[in-house]
């Protein structure tokens, strides 16, 4: 390592090769991924997010929701994701195709949200999500800054939250979600990865002994 230029060259080459292998290698494999056209349904998947949902993703990112929620369902035999109702299949790269900044996250202080809008038997209602965001719960913080409390002038707003108990506004007032709250909820309910891509089908058939148990 006495030869300075050679040493520096070695450093850069080592680092560049590793970066190229991992990042550019993955890019070579997935960079040209296209949506899947289903001839039976006559449309392609994943669908593009609505404008409101695309804006909501930016709210999700700037509040840092990803520090407690992942958006990546693991395959049924790896963890309890399926049993928890987070999704029947694992998330695949195609699910994130149209996301400007995928929020796959790294911590599960709260539940996974990859298929939040596709939960069974039915997805949570917008009102329930708005209520949680406004009032919080024992385990979820409240974000009152996403809402506006104002005096009712004339007709009450159709968007006003139906609140009761301690979180209810003073009489003659109403709590309405701001635009950010509306886009955030639109985004969350737009998260839907129920469509079965060919690559998401498990390679291994369910083992026979499971059937035997029943």
């Amino acid at each position: 390592m006495k030869n300075g230029p050679l040493f520096l060259l070695g450093l850069f080459l080592s680092a560049v090769v590793a970066w190229s292998a991992i990042v550019l290698g993955a890019h070579a494999q997935l960079g040209a991924l296209t949506p899947w056209f289903d001839e039976g349904e006559g449309s392609s998947f994943p669908p593009r997010p609505t404008g409101l949902a695309a804006r909501g993703q930016l709210v999700y990112a700037d509040l840092g929701c990803a520090s407690c929620h992942t958006q990546q369902v693991r395959r049924p035999d790896f963890g309890s994701d399926k049993e928890r109702g987070w999704g029947d299949r694992q998330s695949v790269a195609r699910d994130y195709l149209f996301q400007i900044r995928p929020q796959i996250g790294a911590a599960r202080v709260g539940p996974d949200l990859a298929n939040f809008g596709g939960r069974k038997p039915q997805a949570p209602s917008a009102d329930a999500v708005l209520g949680l965001l406004h009032s919080g719960s024992e385990r979820h913080p409240a974000y009152p800054f996403l809402f506006e409390t104002r005096a009712i002038a004339g007709e009450p707003s159709s968007r006003a939250l139906k609140l009761s108990g301690v979180s209810a506004p003073a009489s003659g007032h109403e709590v309405v979600p701001t635009e950010r709250a509306q886009t955030l909820v639109a985004y969350l309910l737009n998260l839907n990865s129920t469509y079965d891509y060919p690559e998401a089908k498990p390679l291994v058939k369910a083992p026979a002994k499971q059937e035997g148990k029943k």
Partner: protein, 465 residues
């Protein structure tokens, strides 16, 4: 390749250090101020983990933002700022000439700190990027690249203009850390923020950057300090030194192959997590050699040696934990849990910070020409951080393992998980409080030590904290 393991005897310190004193003291002082600020954010985040309502009504301090603030202030402000300053000083000493381009260093450091300050304001107001370790908003990133490169020039000049022909392990690691970081940050920000990759590829790039910060930047800078300090403290020869070059190149070559350890079971090609097992198997050699080379730390005595010992021990433990975490069966239980935070903490605090503390305790008297203001503040600080780090890592690791096994059981709801780990999270909050209080001792001690020597030159640091 290289030569003897006893470090070069330094020329008279004063001549080397005179031009360097102001810029280096300012850089280290600002870094300590960031450490304290980061401690405040970490404390808030720790409280929010067991009491989610805490400060959540304040938009600037949602849990996600506070974590990003704590992480960015810590990595860039504290670890980066102090690591670059200490490494430049070490390269100057080993080069044997007085440091050149220190005005460049000073200017670079000013922009570095301004960039971080602007970036933190950006995160608090909603511009965080949502990539771990790369949370500072896009608009300050180019500034950080130029600022860190500018600071590194002084180190590079000291190395290329060295008096002796041979080089030491400390110099290889120091130069690697200084030159690879600006490149890694450039590659990451282009592929993540300016011309983003498509979809899930961003997650791959982000995972690579996390490991680049760990293995191409902070670990080399921290090892530069460790390899420099140990022969100074116990005046001995490093054992098994002939293995050190291979260990160094393994770190540089294979350090980032392990990026897939963050993506196990995720929506990425399966070879990426598999490559992590390969990478970390190679790195095991690196960790063993570093442990062997630096095992003398466990016999050395003194305040710096105490921190050095902790840092070297933590580095080897971190290597083993990270290696085990690459396996799917283990990741199944630790991934997405507080255990991951414990591993990060083990590296960022247990390894990097402890080694930089050791270096700062060694360097400051050389720069100022007089001992530290108070030796009881020194021992209080080091005792406090050791307790705080150990307690926090233990609490988060146990909480993570218990959270992990509860997550595997679909019948256990999130409420039950939260109440199950609450005790450990409370312990973690207490540990964060201890860490914050200890680091305040360091700030006070540094302030008094630096100010008795150069009067008002350190005024700047107070305004940040």
């Amino acid at each position: 390749m290289t030569s003897p393991s006893i470090q070069a005897a330094p020329s008279p310190g004063d001549a080397i250090d005179r031009h360097a004193r102001g810029p280096l003291l300012t850089a280290i002082g600002l870094a300590i101020a960031w450490l304290v600020l980061s401690g405040v954010f970490s404390l808030i985040a720790a409280i929010q983990l067991h009491s989610p309502a805490f400060l959540s009504g304040c938009e600037f301090l949602t849990h996600g933002r506070v974590r990003a603030l704590a992480e960015s202030a810590f990595i860039y402000g504290w670890a980066g700022g102090s690591g670059i300053a200490v490494t430049v000083w070490i390269l100057g000493r080993l080069g044997g000439n007085s440091l050149r381009a220190m005005n460049w260093f000073g200017a670079g450091n000013a922009f570095w700190n301004l960039g971080i300050a602007a970036g933190l304001v950006g995160i608090a107001t909603g511009d965080m990027t949502s990539f771990s370790f790369l949370q500072l908003p896009r608009y300050v990133q180019p500034l950080l690249v130029f600022a860190s490169a500018t600071m590194g020039i002084a180190g590079l000049l000291a190395w290329s203009g060295r008096r002796r022909d041979g080089t030491f392990a400390s110099q290889w690691y120091g130069i690697a850390g200084l030159v690879l970081f600006p490149w890694a940050l450039t590659a990451a920000q282009i592929s993540q923020l300016w011309v983003p990759l498509r979809g899930v590829l961003q997650a791959v790039g982000a995972a690579w950057y996390v490991d680049a910060v760990v293995f191409l930047w902070l670990a080399p800078l921290a090892l530069a300090s460790a390899y420099y300090l140990l022969p100074k403290l116990n005046r001995g020869v490093l054992p098994s030194y002939e293995a050190a070059p291979l260990a160094f190149w393994l770190l540089v070559v294979a350090g980032t192959w392990g990026a897939g350890r963050h993506l196990i079971g995720g929506p990425v090609p399966a070879w990426i997590p598999t490559m992590a097992v390969v990478g970390f198997s190679l790195l095991l050699y690196h960790f063993s050699v570093v442990g062997l080379n630096l095992r003398g730390a466990f016999r050395a005595e003194g305040a710096e040696a105490g921190a050095l010992k902790f840092g070297v021990g933590a580095y080897v433990v971190f290597g083993v934990v990270a290696f085990l975490g690459c396996f799917r069966s283990i990741a199944l239980r630790t991934q997405f849990t507080h255990f991951a935070s414990a591993t990060d903490l083990l590296f960022l605090y247990g390894v990097v910070s402890m080694l930089f503390f050791a270096a700062i305790y060694f360097v400051l008297p050389q720069l100022t020409g007089r001992p530290w203001f108070s030796s009881s503040l020194t021992s209080g600080h080091l005792a406090g951080v050791k307790v705080g780090i150990a307690l926090s890592i233990f609490a988060l690791a146990v909480a993570g393992l218990s959270q992990g096994s509860m997550l595997l059981n679909p019948k256990v709801g999130f409420g039950e998980i939260a109440s199950g780990v609450r005790t450990y999270l409370l312990v973690n909050t207490a540990a964060q409080l201890v860490l914050l209080a200890s680091n305040l001792l360091l700030l006070v001690n540094f302030w008094r030590s630096a100010c008795t020597c150069c009067g008002g030159a350190e005024k700047a640091e107070g305004s940040v904290s």
